[in-house]
């Protein structure tokens, strides 16, 4: 496999591995993860019956990776870059798969209901007023954009600016607010930058900050305002914490969770990703495992970390059995998908020449 395709596969596989491993630990605290699983979770474990993944097999991904997967399928079938129309079609296509839709987050769920003319579901938090009339709806500033935008990094190797633009196109249907989109652009830009030859993890952290800054600036023109944490400043703080505790896995993970958070809001989960990458010096499996064990929205955090560090190191950094399990349980063919994305990019380049 040529090197770029190998990096694309690395990003896909890293994201799928983080997501599927985190499905078992999602919602728990770190202490409760250790208690339930007898220590840190470092492999695919049986899904507990008291979280969202109950009754599903180990290795099954959640909404996080599966939305991106069906988006990529839609793009490849049409031989097209992302458009608003493709993003919408991909969401509908994804929503037909009940096994993944069960994990759906509140913001995406509301979007789907509107799209399909279904009854609106209960929002993230039940509020007494009709939230649609509010200038700022701060409960929509969630991480469901960042969880799928790594894909735009894989479609834009080394081109952060295009990755940022396309992440906004991909995510503005479901998460049209400045905080969610700024966060999505951080992940997309860092994933795009990860294709650089001999790129260091420090440069990837900078790319994330650039993506968050630029993403906010570009999204501001059309997206709804939202009050909440500042993605740029919180990434910086998370990175500082991660750097300070390099070499002490538990301490770094604990401090990032306690101060930055790792929850459903974009200004928690996305900064945590960069904190974990900083703490683990960009090592792929280690930073994914930190996300899996950090508690709260573990699958989303680990999925995003997987895009970035997987693209940085390429697919060979992951045990082959992980690819086999993900493909088998989910009926995916990630190698084929990586090959198709790479060929699409090659054809596009030839077309332009």
């Amino acid at each position: 496999m040529e090197s770029r395709k190998n990096k694309i596969l690395g990003g896909l596989l890293g994201a799928a591995v983080g997501d599927a491993m985190g499905a078992a630990t999602e919602m728990r605290t770190t202490a409760l993860i250790k208690q339930r699983f007898g220590g840190l979770v470092t492999d695919f474990v049986e899904h507990p019956d008291d979280n969202l993944s109950r009754g599903t097999p180990a290795g099954l991904v959640t909404d996080d990776f599966s939305i991106a997967y069906f988006t990529a399928e839609e793009m490849l079938e049409r031989k097209s870059r992302i458009t608003h129309e493709i993003a919408e079609a991909a969401m509908l296509r994804w929503s037909e798969h009940e096994i993944y839709r069960r994990f759906v987050g509140p913001t995406t769920n509301e979007y789907l209901a509107v799209l399909k003319g279904e009854k609106k579901p209960a929002p993230l938090l039940e509020m007494p007023v009709q939230v649609d009339r509010l200038l700022c709806n701060n409960t929509r500033a969630t991480n469901g954009a960042g969880m799928k935008s790594g894909l735009m990094g894989l479609f834009n190797p080394c081109d952060m600016d295009s990755a940022i633009d396309e992440a906004i196109i991909q995510c503005s249907g479901t998460h049209n607010n400045v905080i969610s989109l700024s966060a999505a652009c951080a992940v997309a830009a860092a994933t795009a930058a990860a294709f650089g030859e001999n790129i260091s993890y420090l440069e990837i952290l900078e790319a994330g900050i650039y993506g968050a800054e630029e993403g906010y600036r570009r999204a501001e023109k059309t997206a709804q305002p939202a009050a909440g944490g500042n993605i740029v400043k919180k990434i910086r703080l998370a990175v500082q914490i991660g750097m300070r505790h390099q070499g002490d896995f538990d301490k770094a993970m604990g401090e990032i969770t306690d101060i930055i958070g790792g929850g459903i809001y974009a200004y928690e989960a996305i900064p945590a990703v960069f904190g974990h990458i900083a703490a683990c010096k960009g090592r792929a499996m280690e930073s994914i495992i930190m996300g899996v064990n950090a508690g709260d929205d573990t699958d989303t955090v680990a999925c995003m970390t997987g895009y970035i560090t997987g693209a940085m190191h390429g697919a060979d950094v992951f045990p082959i059995k992980h690819l086999e399990l993900i493909d088998r349980v989910n009926h995916f063919d990630l190698r084929q998908m990586a090959d198709d994305i790479g060929s699409f990019l090659n054809a596009e380049k030839e077309g332009a020449a």
Partner: protein, 345 residues
């Protein structure tokens, strides 16, 4: 400054923060300046705009926050200052159903309090998420928004204030993060009630309350994953002290990094940050909190309650009393302060 003035200052500053923060709720710092302050920060009671939660409510009207705390306090006072589960429940039910305060429930009530009350009244609940071990969505600030009131009944007794906050707030907020936040605010008010109490002692009591509140609540409440109230308080206090003399920088850094949001691990640390930043100036603490936007009324009621208990009412213009009484006829600051002093002596 005697005990009465501390109680009175606490009640008054809490009400000011709630009523002033209310119309600014959900906005960002820059949208508050743009839409209310003509580019500047806001230092008065605004009229709610159509795109806000409080639209068509009168100016200087308090919200669910103060009304719920006030009514709870009335029930505790009637029970000779004892904080009991029964009194807390009765107060909540009266607050929800009585002519005077029903409007606050209907208009503002947050998600966890609503669910708690529906459960109390035996309403059929959505049980589809009951199989989940952790409920990370109810780690909200509705414990802190009312829990400060128990500090007035436990002057100088920080440990009892923590226990009392847990008794009062677990009815609606049955998780260690929300209860940690409630205990922090209650502990800080209890410490602030001590004659000659210093700011650093109050901040320390708050940190102790957050840590102890979490540990004690962990023994009985449903677990919840999320950031630590205590560690974020520590960072918020650092930010507050660092930018104490730079109003704008303080508010921006606080909201960007700590967030004045609905979660207990957001607005409660913010309130402590502004308490630290305001120093001896109660109104400065309140102004910073209301201009934070997002959950500005809840951030400001907690910050105001702590600052008012520490500094008394001397720094607060009497205009506020008139404005608030006129807008909210159910509040009797002097009578209630008297009552609290009587039952705690």
């Amino acid at each position: 400054m005697n005990q009465y003035d501390k109680v009175y200052g606490c009640l008054l500053a809490a009400a000011i923060g709630d009523a002033m923060g209310c119309p600014l709720e959900t906005r960002t710092v820059s949208l508050i300046k743009r839409d209310f302050g003509n580019g500047e920060f806001v230092y008065d009671y605004m009229i709610p705009l159509p795109d806000s939660i409080a639209y068509d409510m009168p100016r200087a009207y308090v919200t669910d926050d103060f009304s719920c705390a006030y009514l709870s306090g009335k029930y505790f006072a009637a029970d000779h200052g004892r904080i009991t589960r029964r009194a807390a429940i009765d107060a909540l039910l009266e607050w929800k159903n009585s002519e005077d305060t029903r409007i606050f429930y209907e208009r503002y009530c947050g998600p966890s309090t609503r669910r708690g009350l529906e459960q109390l009244e035996g309403k059929k609940m959505d049980t589809s998420r009951d199989y989940l071990l952790c409920n990370n969505r109810t780690a909200t600030n509705g414990g802190g928004m009312k829990g400060w009131i128990v500090g007035l009944f436990d002057p100088g007794n920080v440990d009892k204030a923590i226990d009392d906050a847990l008794v009062m707030c677990q009815i609606t907020h049955y998780n260690p993060i929300a209860l940690s936040g409630a205990a922090a605010v209650a502990a800080a008010v209890a410490q602030a009630m001590v004659k000659g109490a210093r700011l650093d002692e109050v901040l320390e009591a708050g940190l102790y309350g957050a840590g102890e509140g979490y540990r004690r609540a962990q023994r009985f409440a449903q677990p919840s994953a999320g950031a630590s109230v205590e560690k974020r308080m520590d960072l918020a206090i650092q930010i507050g002290l660092k930018y104490a003399n730079d109003f704008e920088k303080c508010v921006v850094e606080m909201t960007d990094l700590i967030v004045s949001g609905l979660n207990a691990n957001e607005s409660i640390p913010c309130a402590f940050g502004y308490l630290a930043a305001g120093g001896a100036d109660v109104m400065r603490t309140i102004y910073m909190a209301v201009n934070s936007g997002n959950d500005s009324d809840t951030t400001a009621i907690m910050a105001g309650a702590m600052a008012g208990a520490l500094r008394g009412s001397s720094g607060i213009s009497s205009n506020h009393v008139e404005t608030l009484k006129e807008a909210n006829p159910f509040i009797d600051f002097e009578g209630f302060a008297d009552e609290i002093c009587r039952v705690t002596n």
